[in-house]
Subunit: 187 residues, 2 copies
DNA sequence: GTCTATAGTCCGATAGAC
DNA sequence: GTCTATCGGACTATAGAC
């Protein structure tokens, strides 16, 4: 069970944090507002003051997840030379595929949420379009670069859903090969 | 609105068909049993005789979708020579990425369903493992072949969710390049 | 502005008649 | 195998305390 934590801090953050714990435990479909409120140490009404509906709470969680991923990508850029033309693409590989298990558990829940939330999808779509435009003008071989991003998405999805068939060794091979294709697409 | 259709046939099939229409219209999250029952021309109780819970109804829809996809892949094999070592991989590209818009609308709903249904995920996982074993022993370059399957998944997901950033032309480039990588991985 | 308590409403699920 | 009636849980709304 998810226990109430007498943590301090703004109620909004406590609620978000509690919701994350609940979602990680039972999934987005079985998330119950009463449970979240209790875990966050607020009343249900208090929760609904900050998030006027269940959907808006899940939406906020999803936003948080996306922001976190973007930070991971930014951080990963530091690992590559500024001269490396395929640096951004490689940072995506490392940043997205290197995330912790906790984050992946959340991924499944948010996939389920996103699939029914047009607003959220639009945010993600805009991000993808921007990313794609960059690729289209910077890469020498657009199609290869695009395939790298698609494969990243595919692998992330499989791992979020825990249906990836790869052995540890196979996964390492795949990541190595992705790096290679990333390089190929910039010369 | 989804209208009641006085179609004949077993109630179970009528319900499934009605549920598909409803899901295509409002999404899995907003599917209401009463609405499905009315559209299928049965009472809610009648519906719940065939599918004892909402989850089981959505699960049945998902199964149907997966079977349909497998048939598409089988059918696509006919388009390639039996001598072509990468025939199966290419059939996946054509079979999965060539599906009609109706089927894609369903994809989003079922992604949302699958993310919360461990039983269903297990079925899909077994399928992926079998597929992966085939790839591992047949392909000359396992990693490349795996990346093709990952990219297919990634593109299918994006298109199901309607967040794909590609222009028509870019998409065609990507598919062509996938075919090329499929060939590369078998020599 | 932030939160509690309570009341309202919707909808999935069950029980039992036919 | 299907229907009607009803229950009960969970989301939402509102009035008002601090």
């Amino acid at each position: 069970m998810v226990e109430a934590h007498a943590v301090p801090g703004p109620a909004r953050d406590r609620i978000l944090e509690a919701a994350e714990r609940v979602v990680a435990e039972v999934g987005a479909a079985r998330l119950i507002l009463d449970v979240v409120a209790q875990a966050a140490g607020v009343s249900k009404g208090g929760l609904l003051y900050h998030f006027p509906s269940k959907e808006s709470l899940l939406g906020a969680l999803a936003q948080r997840y996306v922001q976190n991923k973007e930070q991971c990508i930014e951080a990963a850029k530091g690992g590559f030379s500024e001269q490396d033309h395929s640096r951004d693409l490689k940072a995506c590989i490392v940043g997205i595929l290197g995330s912790d298990p906790r984050s992946k558990a959340m991924g499944a829940a948010l996939l389920a949420t996103a699939a029914n939330d047009l607003t959220l999808l639009e945010v993600i779509r805009e991000r993808l379009v921007a990313n794609n435009n960059e690729l289209a003008e910077s890469s020498a071989d657009f199609a290869r670069a695009a395939i790298v991003t698609l494969a990243i998405d595919g692998l992330m999805m499989r791992e979020s859903l825990r249906i990836s068939p790869f052995t540890e060794d196979q996964r390492a091979q795949v990541v190595r090969e992705l790096m290679k294709i990333a390089d190929e697409s910039y010369r």
